[in-house]
């Protein structure tokens, strides 16, 4: 953002920019937090960037309601239709490439070239997932040769409403890598953006709002991850939980979450849990790490993590 200063030719101060109010994205609209709170977001060097909405428990619950409402329609859309909608998201992201690069650069302290590379990777990642929507069934489904005169088919289906704790460090590429597979499979989601780097997520929500994505399919909350996450983990109408955002930001000591507590809380309603990357248990400080998001995803693994297998039988007979 630019600072007003005297014009060198003495014509008075340069134009004051109009700064964005960063709000939540719920049900296709941009409400402020019902709590009225916000919190300051800093750039990688510690300078003030903006105030972001600080989502509350009620915002999270409202978002779950919006996601549940959108689920039937999104899950019933044809895979082709979902693929086209996701591809359009990538089209609109491409149009905002410069804006995203600027925001990622400030948030993560990257130079211009590195930030541009991250944005390019994020857009390409979105395109990659758009292409999976109508293939996942063929890859993960099966006709099963049962020992009797029955037609028998197993197919993947979206699990429902997924709560995603977006990665803390990788504010755009990591975010896209967590959200795109969830919706590609037909789920709807409530996403908690990176706590310290939420602004690219807000811009992404603007992209989603203008890309034919039905309201409520993706809901984005900014705020304190540790405050909101427990309410989503224990929520009885959340079907699955992605704990990627539990991994700490290496540059910020103590920034990780107690993901064991979140997983235990999710157990009450058998919420499906995708644990954060890493090899150690939650009690181990290095138990959760943020993976290298530039690596090519391991096939449809992240899509299938949020899908159920349904097997249908029917007798064969004249």
């Amino acid at each position: 953002m630019s600072v007003a200063h005297d014009g060198a030719d003495g014509q008075g101060p340069a134009r004051l920019e109009v700064r964005k109010t960063h709000k939540l994205y719920v049900g296709g609209a941009f409400p402020r937090s019902e709590s009225g709170r916000s919190y300051p977001v800093a750039d990688a060097a510690g300078g003030f960037l903006a105030n972001a909405a600080m989502a509350s428990r009620k915002d999270a619950r409202d978002a779950v309601v919006a996601a549940r409402k959108a689920f039937d329609g999104w899950a019933a859309a044809t895979a082709y239709n979902r693929g086209q909608v996701l591809y359009r998201v990538a089209e609109v992201m491409e149009g905002r490439r410069a804006q995203f690069a600027d925001e990622v650069s400030r948030a993560e302290g990257l130079d211009a070239a590195s930030a541009a590379a991250v944005v390019d990777a994020a857009i390409d990642r979105w395109v990659w997932y758009a292409g999976w929507t109508d293939k996942i069934t063929q890859v993960a489904g099966a006709a099963n040769p049962v020992a009797g005169p029955y037609f028998n088919l197993s197919l993947p289906e979206p699990t429902g409403v997924v709560a995603v704790l977006a990665p803390q460090a990788s504010s755009l590429l990591g975010l896209v890598s967590a959200v795109a597979p969830v919706v590609a499979g037909g789920n709807t989601c409530v996403v908690v953006a990176s706590e310290t780097r939420p602004l690219p997520a807000v811009t992404l929500s603007e992209v989603l709002a203008t890309s034919d994505v039905p309201g409520g399919v993706v809901n984005l909350l900014t705020g304190i991850t540790g405050e909101i996450a427990p309410w989503l983990a224990s929520h009885e109408d959340v079907d699955a939980l992605d704990l990627a955002g539990a991994a700490p930001v290496p540059a910020i000591p103590g920034s990780g979450l107690d993901w064991a507590a979140l997983e235990a809380s999710a157990a009450a309603t058998l919420t499906r849990v995708l644990r954060p990357a890493g090899s150690g248990p939650a009690s181990d400080p290095s138990g959760a790490v943020e993976p290298d998001w530039t690596a090519v995803p391991d096939g449809p693994r992240r899509i299938l993590a949020f899908m159920e297998t349904k097997t249908v039988w029917h007798p064969k007979g004249r």
Partner: protein, 484 residues
């Protein structure tokens, strides 16, 4: 009209030799529990004591997990998939050879009719081992994650498995076969009331010369299972049982890196439309809830019948129920055997009484129940509302709750109105309606114009609080291999 009385047709007990006591099967041999604890297992049809089995304590669990780890590292993980598969083929063939013995033993220990243990449980168990034997050296083609630097999927290591009493041998097969095929070793705890076929299976492992420690069987009760699941040496936990215990296990493993799959309860809707072929539908309803005395997680315990045919269906159902034979499980003509335990019987009685108290109408055919043993007559409740306990809670007994609907959408809404999601049944002649309903029913297994069909190639498991993960088929292998 002459009435046809069936002559008794008892299956002989002589085929099976039950020892007076059994130890724990650890590291290839039987040994007593470290503290000498034991429990008795009874025949639920007569309450006679069949045998005494050891109760594994923490020290025994530790010894078994160490034996499984040692076998994994020293032998099983170094063995090629082809050789592993050949052990499983041996086990499958021995199960087939000793099929009658296993069936009779299962009926004695569990209470289920010999018709079912002989024709369903044991053959499916053998088939499960046979199917998984073939996967052992083909995992690279199964669509599973492959860790960086490896050529094929990798096992988790040591699996801790806890199984229920309703299909003791079959549940053992569902757990052990895929675990071994993918290269894991196992410590398995059979249910407290049905340990005997697991112990005979241990003898089959000895006959097959399975390397010691690859399969370990720890008999015991809830505490043994809890100790096993919590043991730090376990990499993968698999549980089949109640939703409540499933929740506790999920909490126990939270924060560890143990993989977990759960097969829990259900309250399946069996949906009958007005165009369903009525005789087939009646058989499907009866099979859905009275097979295995209703001790089936995927039992069709809620009949959703279209209003226009409700009276006719219920009337024919009662007529059919009156032909069901309740009695000696070893008699080949028996349809409905004994309830597995006093505890389970008490639960069924309590829920049935709740059904009456809440205003549903209860009916059972007249039948003489034996004096000894645990018995419950097949029962149907009509005038059931979705709010009744008997419409919401899993009874796990031969009790059917009947509700009605008018439109397909209403049937879907009522069927999905449950925190469970294991199975569902659809009865209609209209193909497009079958597919429409199947799409909308939130259940892991949908049986259309059939019910209670199982196969090792067919993935089985639930949505929501019926658990997560699948058993059987290509999908069932995923539980037992490491993430990439």
């Amino acid at each position: 009209m002459p009435s046809f009385e069936y002559a008794p047709a008892p299956e002989s007990r002589a085929v099976v030799d039950i020892r007076p006591s059994y130890g724990l099967f650890v590291d290839g041999d039987f040994s007593p529990a470290a503290d000498g604890a034991a429990l008795k297992t009874v025949n639920p049809a007569t309450e006679e004591v069949l045998s005494e089995v050891a109760v594994a304590g923490e020290a025994d669990v530790d010894r078994a997990v160490r034996a499984a780890r040692s076998a994994y590292e020293g032998v099983w993980s170094r063995m090629s998939g082809t050789q592993r598969g050949k052990y499983l083929f041996r086990i499958a063939r021995i199960i087939q050879e000793r099929a009658r013995e296993l069936a009779v033993l299962e009926t004695l220990d569990n209470g289920k009719p010999i018709k079912e243990s002989r024709d369903v449980d044991v053959p499916l168990a053998a088939a499960h081992f046979f199917y998984h034997a073939g996967w052992a050296d083909k995992l690279a083609w199964a669509g599973l994650p492959v860790p960086a630097g490896r050529a094929e999927p990798q096992p988790c290591g040591v699996a801790g498995q806890v199984i229920p009493w309703n299909f003791p041998l079959l549940m053992l097969a569902w757990k052990v076969a895929p675990a071994l095929a993918t290269g894991n070793t196992v410590v398995l705890k059979p249910a407290e009331t049905t340990p005997l076929t697991a112990l005979l299976f241990a003898q089959i492992c000895q006959q097959a010369e399975l390397p010691p420690g690859v399969v370990n069987i720890l008999t015991g009760a809830g505490a043994t299972g809890a100790a096993l699941v919590a043991h730090p040496g376990i990499d993968k936990v698999a549980f089949t049982g109640s939703t409540d215990v499933g929740r506790q296990i999920a909490r126990t493993v939270a924060g560890s890196r143990k993989k977990l799959t759960l097969e829990l309860g259900g309250k399946a809707a069996n949906i009958v439309f007005d165009d369903a072929p009525i005789d087939q539908a009646i058989e499907g309803i009866v099979n859905g809830i009275f097979f295995n005395q209703g001790h089936v997680c995927c039992a069709g315990s809620r009949l959703l019948v279209q209003e226009s045919v409700a009276d006719e269906v219920v009337s024919r159902l009662r007529h059919r129920m009156a032909q069901l034979r309740v009695g000696d499980p070893l008699d080949k003509n028996t349809d409905i055997g004994a309830i597995n335990s006093q505890a389970q019987l008490s639960r069924i009685v309590e829920l049935a009484e709740a059904g009456e108290r809440e205003g549903a109408i209860r009916w059972s055919p007249p039948c003489t129940l034996p004096d000894n043993g645990f018995w419950f007559a097949p029962t149907v409740f009509t005038d059931v509302s979705p709010a009744h306990r008997i419409a919401r809670e899993e009874i796990f007994g031969p009790v059917l709750s009947v509700l009605t609907f008018r439109t397909p959408q209403e049937a879907v809404t009522k069927a999905n109105n449950t925190p469970y999601g294991l199975s569902a049944g659809i009865w209609t002649e209209k193909g497009s309606r079958i597919l429409w309903m199947a799409d909308r029913l939130r259940a892991g297994v949908v049986w259309a114009n059939t019910f209670n069909r199982f196969d090792p190639t067919s993935p089985f498991g639930g949505y929501q609080e019926s658990g997560y993960g699948r058993e059987g088929g290509r999908h069932g292998l995923a539980a037992y291999v490491r993430e990439a």
